[in-house]
Amino acid sequence: MPEPDLCELSVPNRIGFRFPEVDVPCAELPKGLVREHLPLPELYELDVIRRYTRLSQLNHAIDTGYYPLGSCTMKYNPKINEEMARLAGFAAVHPLQPVQSVQGCLALMYELQEWLKEIGGFAGVTLQPAAGAQGELTGILIIRAYHKDRGELQRTKILIPDSAHGTNPATSAMSGMTVVEIKSDERGNTDLDSLRKQCDETLAGIMITNPNTLGLFDENIEEVIRLVHEAGGLVYGDGANMNALLGIVRPGDLGIDVLHFNLHKTFSTPHGGGGPGSGPVGVCDKLVDYLPSPIVTITQEGDEETPPVYGFYTPPKSIGRVKSFHGHFGMMVRAYTYMLMHGKEGLRKVSEHAVLNANYLRARLRNVYHIPYDRICMHEFVAEGRWEDAPEVRALDISKRLMDFGFHPPTNYFPLIVHEALMIEPTETESKQTLDAFADALIRIAEEARTNPDLLKSAPHHTPVGRVDEVKAARDLILACGVSVEEDT
């Protein structure tokens, strides 16, 4: 049974929480500005606990089951991370406290900057961006500022491969750039002929995801970077897929000029049902002066007896702030804890096992599902969810049927260049037993597609709700408790 609406639970004059009585003389309330009607619910504590506990139980989550969601890196989120972020010395610290009272926060941020620089092969890192998409925005604004600074105002063209995440073109457009799509070749690499045609004096740069969203390491990467640099452009790396590269290759070494990391993917901070993320950005030497402010730096070197003194620093040509305060510090604590517990060898093992798991699943499924670019993949791969002898069945049906086996579906219908795409990213934290159970489920579903397609078309059967009516949701637009938004059209 679905849970009732929040407003239905409310009982007039029920009290949920008491604050202490006022212990100072009361001031006169501001005339004409006092609110008369505050339509918030009236619940008590157990109402709230039960409601949200019950709601939580309707979710699939990493802690309850497998999540092979392509390009999302749904790895295990260690519990120690949560404890560390909740230490009073971090959680109960105001962002604007005097710097000498927050040296521990600044030291952690400085160390995290250093780790990310080393892992990515970059000269500078900002921790400010709130999420991957904001990291992209930061990176593209830096590229734009770099060209402007050199008097090259005409460089507004950003090239984006057809396999890219939707945030790439959206970011470019939002930054006032023009987007030109670049095709993939038959091996899933960037098509060099399409690229060459766009390498002119209006080129600002390229946004490249490597490994790309097919899970393939671009075999043309060195040539792509060379061509773009030769034409005066810069190379943006979408770090969504960094989980394949830790200790394997450093994007900066390849010549990538700017890249965002996703702490909530690669470095195990929880996704939280959609956020918060954290999207630090690394840049090469020539772009460090453009990083958003503030950056954490050492303002006074330490020695054997005294630790260094940390402070904030604004780069001379900074694009400015991209949000308030210093970024998602709580996420930085979690990511740094994770990094310390892996060290250099452990980080490489993470990527090695992410790639091992992906190739293992690919090998187990390749005779049952068509894999359009079937070669050794990195941390993920894309299969097609369709068969000629099961014409009614679509990737969506396979995804929904997987739920009946207790699995979250893979990313589907992305990347756009594969028909009926099922994009599978196993992550390194899943055991062989889990991978086998998942592969077995997919193999059984492939049989069902032929023998009992209706079972797939009507799936899922064992979830709290069945397939939902998306058209009705968009038509009725009930977006708040008891309120239907009637649009003026």
């Binding site: 949920g16 949200y52 604007l96 521990g104 734009r144 959206a170 452990g346 390194e428 637009l477």
Partner: protein
Amino acid sequence: MFLPHTDKERQQMLETIGVKTIEELFAAIPQKYRFPELKLPSALTEMEAQAVISDLASTNDNLQEMICFLGAGAYNHYIPAVVDAIIRRGEFLTAYTPYQAEVSQGTLQSIFDFQSLMTALTGMEVSNASHYDGATAVAEAVTMANAHFRGKRNRVILSPALHPHYRQTVRTYHANTGIEFVGDEPSADLRASPESLAELLNENTALVIVQYPDFFGRIYDYTQLAAKAHQAGALFAVSVNPIALGLLKPPSEFGADIVTGEGQPLGIPLSFGGPYLGIFTTRKEYVRRMAGRLVGETVDNRGQKAYVLTLTAREQHIRREKATSNICTNQGLMALAATVYLSLVGKHGLRQVAELCYHKAHYAADQIKAIEGFSLWSDEPFFNEFVVKSPTPPQELNQKLLEYGIIGGYDLEQDYPSLKGYVMFAVTEMNTKEEIDYLVSTLAEVSHA
């Protein structure tokens, strides 16, 4: 630990793949860059890492040990135990974005609750599922207004009393979109009535943005300014502190078209600046121009009520370069914290906490202005923050307060050169009368030293 495979299993998996070693899986990577030696330390155990991180935390002055009178956009409020008990549940914490509605009803209905609570609080008709913070919510308001006028109106008026970080963020976002920002020049008269911003309105104005309470804590009725903005054909946006709306008229009553805000005060820890919560609400007619995720109520194929992400054609994963924004990951878990906080404190609790902030701040202001050498900058009504002229330079004053266990106020000179020597104090329900009296006696003592 976090990696499960035994050597035997690894071997079986490599055989299934048809390679001999893990290294062979990385042949596509240019050899000269493959397997770099990272100059990083080796792994720590959980026990060791816990000790290192705890050491770092212990070097900070934290607000469980210190008395805090610092605000300026982030506030020290009490967080009921219920909030963390819910948001640390693995079913919420480790879930992904609820694209697959059948296995995400918990997240979806919680977002629906969040949307309901935000519209109730601001008085607006629709709310999205969150932005990153108060600053980026304002930046997205500008993007929305720009899209609404199809780029034909390129002036945006910013109140100089809008948070400095928000004004900086808005400019970063719109460095290349042809928007001209006016109203917050360093020469702006900070004591002028907000209606004076109306002088900047012209036929090119897309949006007027004010803050409520403003950055200096002052509260104004913006009805006249909103009306003038509308007369000029512009939209009117208000950035709010949601706790203040427990006591104060919602901006919808002023005629606001967009109400944004920083949701941190609603049960979210200060955490040295984030993650926080961007609130974004607007009128129904702008819903298709709004950025970010949106949950709608519908039914499933079994006839049950159900929730689903809706109007996704606005978003980047569908519309790519034509999307209303590039936002993807938002502040889901922080929105849940605010939802649980507001569900628990409810109608009565929010009013109570807002009144506590108001009365305690007024008591503190009255006491501080009576100290020799101190005076209030403004006599306008204020909520829980106020600006004081200090006889001692604020930075020096704050250093001394630290020695007495007090996190002092915000030194305004760093953002407003004309406010040299002015400091802004914030007071919340966390400050007892004894603490306020202690601040007052300490100020009297150290400012004469």
